[in-house]
């Protein structure tokens, strides 16, 4: 499965407050650090497995632990309508 941002949703750097925000129609939210790591890898071409691989490598962590976190995070972002 290849996650992509829902129409009108994008990750945006908030210069004034030095943080990243997810901008969506009539709403915005500030992702936590883990969500941000996942969001930055969503580009409509990387599939979930690739995202997990990259984060497992980046954090030198066991793949199954990362997989659990990423799957939960994607489900959460999907339920908020941020990704498809």
């Amino acid at each position: 499965m290849t996650p992509r941002f829902a129409p009108g949703v994008r990750l945006h750097h908030d210069h004034a407050r030095d943080r990243w925000v997810v901008m969506a129609p009539e709403r915005m939210f500030v992702p936590d650090d883990i969500a941000l790591e996942v969001l930055r890898l969503i580009d409509g071409t990387r599939d979930t497995a690739t995202i997990i691989d990259q984060l497992a490598e980046k954090f030198a962590a066991p793949r199954d632990i990362i997989a659990t976190d990423v799957t939960a995070m994607l489900a959460d972002l999907r339920s908020r309508g941020a990704i498809q």
Binding site: A6, P7, G8, V9, R10, H12, D14, H15, A16, R17, V21, M23, P25, E26, M28, G81
Partner: protein, 351 residues
């Protein structure tokens, strides 16, 4: 002091529709006095620098401006998330594709009712409803997210379920059901618009029942309430508006407070307006509050309610919003509800 998150850019007061609850001021700005493309571009750049993340391109009807594509591009290039708030009747495929290319992020389309005859009676423009349906389709085809905005009141609440069905049929990802807020034109038409308690309860029931199927944001009227609706995180806290003539406003309805003087973008920066203008500082925080707000546990929750409503109903914007049961003026709302029974509109127009 907080930095603002959103800028309402009221590009023009011109509009082919004439909705009797329009939030534009009673005295409308003429085209010749509107800010230029370059001035709007400066406003967007300064808004982004000030901390704004998004802008609502609004009006009047924003697409009534011939430079709407350039304006959208300027907002996008400034780094703002761009939301077009439109009645949709001037949108065609060519314009929408140019707006999309300019970086438009989202479209909010107004509908006046699901019933064509009633919708066009409310909006005052024959043929508008079919054009809106086409506009919704064009937005979907452009791949842009669509929100339908329905302002509801005594004259269309009986069709609320049909309005919800319409939003789904037209492909909206979101629906805003907003009860009329009463200042400006809406106050002049209050007797024709105020819903009864029974209508309000039925509306709330319908909205709650539909929530599983569609994302619905619901703005309730506070004439039937005991506590006022909160003023967006407080006056001069999260939001600012720029009017067609360049007036910088703490709130879209602030010009209804007669006697209040607003800074203008033609002789100040947005930064100075936000940080130093007396109009912005006047109701910031809680120190300005009268009894019973002073010391009230809800003071930093609802911020004493709406300044514009306090002015409209008590003549003093520094009073507690009469929607609060603790306000000494609370009875004026009950009186208004009793009086509300007429059905004729006074359409908005340039005086």
């Amino acid at each position: 002091m907080n930095a603002p998150l959103a800028l309402l850019a009221e590009l023009t007061h011109r509009c082919p529709l004439r909705c009797p609850y329009c939030s534009n001021p009673a005295e409308l700005t003429r085209a010749s006095a509107e800010l230029t493309t370059a001035e709007w571009s400066r406003v967007f750049t300064e808004a982004a620098a000030l901390g704004c993340l998004q802008t609502h391109l609004s009006g009047g009807e924003p697409t009534a401006r011939r430079d709407i594509v350039d304006i959208t591009a300027a907002a996008h290039q400034a780094g703002l998330y761009t939301n077009l708030i439109t009645a949709g009747v001037l949108l065609d495929a060519a314009l929408l594709s140019r707006l999309t290319a300019a970086g438009l992020d989202h479209v909010q389309l107004s509908v006046q009712d699901a019933d064509t005859t009633n919708a066009e009676n409310i909006g005052g423009m024959p043929g508008a409803h079919a054009r809106k349906r086409t506009a919704a389709q064009l937005v979907r085809e452009a791949g842009l997210p669509l929100t339908i905005n329905a302002v509801v009141h005594r004259q269309n609440l009986h069709n609320l379920q049909a309005i919800i069905d319409l939003a789904r049929a037209w492909g909206a990802a979101r629906l805003e059901v907003a009860h009329v807020q009463y200042y400006g034109w809406a106050l002049a038409n209050r007797d024709a618009l105020l819903p009864t308690r029974a209508q309000l309860d039925e509306a709330t029931r319908i909205v709650n029942a539909a929530r599983g199927e569609l994302r619905i944001d619901y703005v309730v009227p506070d004439y039937h309430a005991h506590r006022p609706k909160p003023c967006m995180g407080g006056w001069g806290s999260r939001f600012l508006a720029v009017a067609p003539n360049g007036d910088v406003l703490p709130c879209h309805a602030a010009q209804s407070i007669t006697g209040m003087v607003f800074p203008n973008i033609r002789d100040t920066s947005l930064h100075d307006a936000w940080h130093h203008a007396p109009a912005f500082n006047r109701f910031r925080g809680t120190a300005w509050m009268p009894a019973p707000c002073q010391g009230c546990e809800r003071a930093e929750i609802d911020w004493g309610g709406c300044r514009c409503q306090a002015f409209a109903l008590t003549g003093d914007a520094a009073n507690t919003d009469p929607a609060c049961a603790l306000s000494p003026h609370h009875a004026v709302l009950a009186d208004a509800l009793e009086k509300a029974a007429t059905n004729t509109f006074r359409y908005r127009e340039f005086s």
